[in-house]
């Protein structure tokens, strides 16, 4: 299953500057593991204690995977997986 994964600026140091990479897998976690095998260090930035980081958003096509099974969300051939860091903060 080949999917295109869009990489945000801050994580491109892990992909040799590439804005997007091809990967395979049947779930979001498998896709992340597949990228990690070639671009070590990326997974640590996305996953913590087997869960997606609170302030990282991952989308399969237009859907935020947080509402679709998290790391177990399914991906299909030809899907686009987009990784975007949250834009957030606070005065405390």
């Amino acid at each position: 299953m080949a999917v295109t994964v869009s990489i945000p600026t801050i994580l491109r140091t892990h992909t040799g500057g590439e804005k997007s990479v091809e990967a395979s897998g049947k779930t979001v976690l498998e896709v992340i593991d597949d990228i990690e095998a070639r671009h070590s260090g990326l997974k640590d930035r996305l996953v913590k204690d087997d869960k997606l980081h609170r302030f990282v958003n991952v989308y399969v096509n237009d859907e935020d995977v947080r509402f679709a099974g998290g790391l177990d969300a399914e991906v299909s051939d030809g899907d686009t997986v987009t990784i975007l860091p949250a834009v957030a903060g606070g005065s405390r």
Partner: protein, 155 residues
Amino acid sequence: MFVVLRIRRDLVDAIVEHARRDHPDEACGVIAGPDDGTDRPERFIPMLNAARSPTFYEFDSGDLLKLYREMDANDEIPVVIYHSHTATEAYPSRTDVKLAQEPFAHYVLVSTRDPEEYEFRSYRIVDGAVTEEPVEVVESYMFANTGSDDVPDAR
């Protein structure tokens, strides 16, 4: 890396207006600019604070995806990411620093704690390090900085 934020006055006014409007909740948004190395904020995009909180802000995740797709399609980057502090100074909090994930953006903070005077300050936040930078407000990007002073500008 640019060590100054050059920004048009109308964009400063738009940010301050947005911050005043959402006070006492924190307001947030982006000014996008061309991805051509000019570091020029141009397109004002106020965002909804999904947290609707006086002490926290977060772009809605659906809006975030839409925003980045739009910028991608336009060859734009988030030149400025702004938010307001409504009861404290315009300086990045520990949370702001921890969550900052755009190393090339100017992080603008506006404080609306004083109803008359606002504070408008800009920072780089990279790997947990905060560097304040001067803000140069210009009327237009066109006529400022036309070249080095020892070369006469073309007429």
